[in-house]
């Protein structure tokens, strides 16, 4: 197990550098003048250009720029935007809201998805099963931004049940509808995955043994069946949490949540290269680590799986 973790961590290193180099190259090298439009209608003063060029080593070839940037990053210095704001501070201010939203989404998709999946998996081909199959098919097919707009329009504007936008500090009560929107597609996956898993395992030998022993149905389902069927679902939820924390650009945009997705979108549009790279580095790291945790969780939950 220890060797496996070590090997996975070592494998993360090239992936981490590869991803960040790719993003760094895309953000810094391709579009022309990084100072275009940075100082309003007129050209930037020479002193400012000089200062920023020195600060970001813009005269050096790209690999050296990248090296300087990474050296700073490893000491915890994310650098500053062209306007002089601390990028580490921007991330620290926005990230809690994104994490809150991700957990709300995860809770909603876990609770609803699991319930629907268990109920339909236990009674295959029943009315409920078909209902779940059809409704998850619809959820899968509707892009997030359509769900977001329609719910915002109906609940927020027409019926005035929720406030259409989320206020600055994003209280949990206002995040429920955005969380539902964000988690809707994964909810469908969770339901279908649980359903397949339950249906497959209910034919397993140990379930038949449990029934033959005369255990009450509740115990068979709750202890024997559920525990084994939930392993793939939990790993899916873990991977999904990594994805949710990285990509709520659309949902945060629609509902006006001050999160990392909105921040990175703003930075891309205003060509704040340093901010984009900084946020992407954090997101990629979270995503990679979540995937590692999920793999380890798999072994912890299922004793049949052993990593060397």
């Amino acid at each position: 197990m220890g060797r496996y973790v070590l090997r996975r961590l070592l494998q993360l290193i090239p992936v981490f550098f590869g991803t960040t180099i790719l993003i760094y190259w895309l953000v810094w090298s391709v579009p022309g003048d990084p100072f275009a439009g940075k100082c309003g209608e007129r050209a930037c003063p020479d002193s400012y250009v000089q200062f920023m060029t020195d600060k970001y080593h813009l005269d050096d070839p790209l690999p050296i720029q990248y090296f300087h940037y990474m050296a700073n990053l490893l000491t915890g210095d994310f650098g500053q935007t062209f306007g002089g704001r601390d990028i580490g501070g921007i991330i620290a201010a926005a990230y809690p809201n994104t994490i809150k939203l991700a957990f709300v989404a995860l809770t909603i998709e876990g609770v609803i998805g699991l319930t629907a999946g268990v109920l339909s998996g236990l009674r295959r081909n029943g009315f409920l099963d078909n209902l779940v199959l059809v409704s998850t098919l619809f959820l899968l097919a509707i892009p997030t931004f359509v769900t977001g707009f329609v719910l915002q329009f109906l609940l927020g504007v027409q019926w005035k049940i929720i406030s259409p936008t989320v206020s600055g500090d994003a209280p949990i009560s206002q995040l429920i509808v955005p969380g539902f929107v964000l988690g809707s597609i994964s909810m469908a996956y969770v339901a279908r995955l649980t359903r397949t898993s339950i249906a497959e395992n209910s034919r397993a030998d140990y379930v038949r043994t449990a029934v033959a022993k005369g255990l009450p149905r509740r115990r068979v389902v709750g202890v024997h069946l559920l525990r084994n069927s939930l392993i793939p679902v939990i790993t899916f939820l873990g991977t999904d949490l990594g994805a949710l924390m990285g990509g709520a650009i659309v949902t945060e945009g629609i509902f006006g949540i001050n999160g990392i997705g909105r921040e990175v979108y703003r930075a891309i549009v205003t060509k704040e290269g340093a901010t984009v790279v900084g946020i992407v580095v954090v997101l990629v790291m979270v995503y990679l680590l979540m995937n590692l945790v999920v793999d380890l969780l798999y072994a912890a939950l299922d004793p049949r799986i052993r990593y060397e």
């Binding site: 494998q11 090239p14 992936v15 981490f16 590869g18 991803t19 790719l22 993003i23 895309l26 953000v27 391709v30 579009p31 098919l137 619809f138 899968l140 097919a141 509707i142 892009p143 997030t144 931004f145 359509v146 707009f149 329609v150 329009f153 504007v157 597609i185 994964s186 996956y189 279908r192 995955l193 899916f236 991977t239 999904d240 994805a243 990285g246 990509g247 650009i249 659309v250 945009g253 997705g261 990175v264 979108y265 891309i268 549009v269 984009v276 992407v280 997101l283 990629v284 995503y287 990679l288």
Partner: protein, 326 residues
């Protein structure tokens, strides 16, 4: 489905042995004279598909959307771009304009019909690109293994590690801003390239794992013992037997890409104004949702129906190809 890379998690079971399908007995309902002629993998799947109503529903819709993309004139005689008339700006649905008119007084019905073309071209071409490129890399990595496999797998991990929407925005924003004018072909190509760049690792992994599972099969060993070359083994034996999981993924991917293109266009980084696509129309409408909800809802309904049809087709194909579900 705004993130095509997540589709692979549930919809395919890697490592399944598609080779088994070919040997499966004919379905019990089959007429007896067909029993003599053994069907191949695809023939068997087709036999299974023909009896599924869900397949026919999905196929009908897809044919309809393809017709819309190829000959939009069949559905509307209105010019979607140049027939604007400000006197009917934001007029709601009525007997002349079935879906109403947008801010410029353009017919939303006509624009939605013409929007099918760009959406479907992007999705189909990007799917072909992803599947061909990803499978090629997957076959190479799985067949030769060793350091080549390690290198290609890490490379795939790099692209897989970038969150989809974020990566697409960065790519499109970087390359889309040059002043080369707003050429339709250029914008469309860029969007396709961005989609392929960020999703090829998924089909690579699917292909690689099924190549790894098939590589040890007896018929491959037999072919090798008979002196077949690597090229012959790959094209005659390996690829036909590893195709099923990728095929299923591809069908669902078309739907996912239609959604992804719309998401990117909606964010303003994908297709842009001279091009008409469902995402572009939704992007134009988003600020007027309170006064003209129909402007958003009709193209969104088309979008959802198209994605749904491809996902449904993918499900049907998967059930037909999966021996475990018989």
């Amino acid at each position: 489905m705004s993130d095509p890379t997540s589709g692979s998690l549930v919809t395919t079971s890697p490592g399944e042995q598609p080779g088994l399908v070919a040997e499966a007995a004919p379905a019990p309902g089959a007429p007896p004279q067909q029993r003599d002629k053994p069907r191949g993998l695809l023939g068997d799947a087709w036999h299974d598909l023909r009896r599924k109503p869900i397949f026919w529903i999905a196929a009908t819709f897809i044919v309809l959307f393809l017709l819309m993309a190829i000959v939009p004139q069949l559905f509307t005689s209105v010019d979607p771009e140049h027939d604007s008339n400000l006197s009917r700006s934001l007029v709601g649905p009525g007997s002349t304009g079935w879906f109403g008119y947008d801010l410029q007084g353009q017919d939303i019905y006509a624009r939605t019909i013409y929007g099918a073309r760009a959406s479907i071209i992007v999705a189909v071409v990007a799917t072909l690109g992803t599947v061909l490129f990803g499978s090629l890399v997957g076959v190479i990595a799985g067949f030769w293994g060793g350091w080549l496999d390690a290198l290609l797998s890490r490379l795939a991990d790099v692209f897989f590690g970038i969150p989809f929407v974020l990566g697409a925005i960065v790519i499109l924003f970087t390359f889309n801003t040059s002043n080369s004018g707003r050429s339709t072909v250029r914008i469309t190509t860029l969007v396709i390239i961005a989609l392929v760049t960020l999703t090829w690792p998924v089909s690579m992994r699917i292909m690689r794992s099924s190549v790894l599972a098939t590589k040890q099969a007896d018929y491959i060993v037999a072919a090798r013992a008979l002196g077949a070359s690597n090229t012959r083994i790959i094209f005659k034996h390996l690829i036909p037997n590893c195709l099923a999981p990728v095929l299923v993924y591809a069908t669902i991917l078309v739907g996912a890409f239609i959604g992804a293109e719309a998401t990117l266009s909606f964010l303003g980084v994908g297709l842009q104004s001279p091009v008409i696509s469902w995402g572009v129309i939704i992007n134009e409408s988003q600020n007027y949702i309170r006064v003209a909800p129909y402007w958003l809802l009709f193209p969104a309904a088309f979008l959802v129906t198209a994605v749904l049809s491809f996902v449904m087709l993918g499900e049907a194909v998967r059930e037909a190809l999966d021996p475990k579900l018989r």
